[in-house]
Amino acid sequence: MVNVAIFDYGAGNIFSLKNSLEKIGATVNVITNFDDENIHSGLLLPGVGNFDPAMNGIRNFSKIQFKEYVGNMPVLGICLGMEMFFGKSEEGKEKGLNVIDGEVIVLPSGMKVPHMGWNNLEIKKPGKILEGVANGSWAYFVHSYRVKPNSNDVITAESDYGIKVPAVVEHDNFFGTQFHPEKSSIVGKIMLENFLKECKK
């Protein structure tokens, strides 16, 4: 049994993520600040909401700050949650968590935005989250922004949407998916299981 927390910024569907994690054996607590004792082996930043309100939710309601709470604990950021790992976003004015160097920029014009639907993962290099995931696997995306890391080394998978969209990033204990694993059928389940494996270590 592994105990993980989902941070709820108060905006949108986290029920599906919680449910997906519980189905694969996790105990899940939903938290709205970092002040209670950290009894968790992993944290998830869900992919619903808007950049500024979500950052304010993370920053303004806790005495203890994100980095201090997390330490070396594995963190999975999904969609907006992954975007928050970076320094700043064109979606808002607030500073990001800045645990991965880079920024978040709007998808290029000329393509439909949001990028919504099932797209292939082009695996660039092995990663912990991608273990057992075949190149070309389908994942469900719904986003209007993309991450632009300073170093391409953190990108383990991309997706083609006119341009190459970073789909999975890994850096130290921070894991991010631009798509929604909890909405990506069996492939998504494998990735959530991989994350829980990291949490157990």
Binding site: F15, N19, V48, M116, G117, N120, D160, E182, S185, I186
Partner: protein, 267 residues
């Protein structure tokens, strides 16, 4: 490879059961929504749409439980619409496990709810559902189309297709996008129930008027209808109900058929 076309089964839910009207007449029971959702999801549906057509607000309150039950059995995205009037209605649906909320009449009556929803939940949650019907009384303020020598425009209808609004569909989709919509669910009243194929003219023109994704709906009677709408317009998704409900074609069967004919789908 790139983004695939989405195939979306639609479940019309009345008093907790999936129903389907045949040629607008007898409403036929098509099964339990949770069971059907699980079945479609495992058969390879790309998304699901639930439209609550329950008559009274009182009975509609059960939608919350239904959303929860559906969310616990599927691992693909789903949209819930029908009777959504306010931010509170939408919140109730999203916080219980739906990924997107469809608004139709509620958005026409109070367009600023689109912006409020977008700001709180993000654009991707906000699906504007539009029921469109040809109106042959033309005037200069409308986007006029010609088919079989007849001139007409597409009018937005509300209250389940019962009431015309005088609003031009082409204008409304542009306004809705501007206000914060993330997707358009476009149903042709002219085609709905005919099994005659999607309204290509309507779909193509709506797709070309916005930069957000569009779902075509109304008129699908066979997989070839989906092929037509995908080939003739740059629409992103095709929604259908009856072809999936009665096992004439499984979701997977439809998608294989499309793939064999060079439509990019997830299989």
């Amino acid at each position: 490879m790139t983004l695939t076309k989405r195939i979306i089964p639609c479940l019309d839910v009345k008093n907790g059961r999936v129903v389907k009207g045949l040629n607008f007449e007898s409403i036929k029971d098509a099964g339990d929504p949770v069971e059907l959702a699980e079945k479609y999801s495992s058969e390879g549906a790309d998304e699901l749409v639930f439209l609550d057509i329950t008559a009274s607000d009182e009975q509609r309150k059960t939608i919350k439980d239904l959303v929860r039950k559906v969310a616990s059995v599927i691992d693909i995205p789903f949209t819930v619409g029908g009777g959504v009037k306010s931010l509170e209605d939408a919140r109730n649906i999203l916080l219980n496990g739906a990924d997107k909320v469809g608004i139709n009449t509620g958005a026409i009556k109070n367009p600023k709810v689109i912006t409020e929803l977008m700001e709180l939940f993000g654009r991707q949650c906000v699906v504007i559902a539009i029921d469109a019907k040809r109106n042959y009384h033309t005037d200069d303020s409308k986007n006029i189309f010609i088919e079989n020598d007849k001139q007409f425009w597409f009018e937005v209808f509300i209250y389940g297709g019962k009431e015309g609004t005088g609003i031009d569909v082409i204008q409304w989709v542009k306004d809705a996008e501007e206000l914060g919509a993330g997707e358009i669910l476009l149903t042709s009243i002219d085609k709905d129930g005919t099994k005659d194929g999607y309204d290509i003219l309507l779909t193509k023109n709506v797709v070309n008027s916005v930069t957000i994704p569009v779902i075509a709906s109304g008129g699908c009677g066979k997989p070839d209808d989906m092929i037509n709408v995908f080939k003739e317009s740059n629409v992103d998704a095709a929604l259908a109900a009856s072809i999936f409900h009665y096992e004439t074609h499984g979701v997977n069967g439809v998608k294989s058929y499309l793939k064999d004919r060079n439509i990019s789908v997830r299989l």
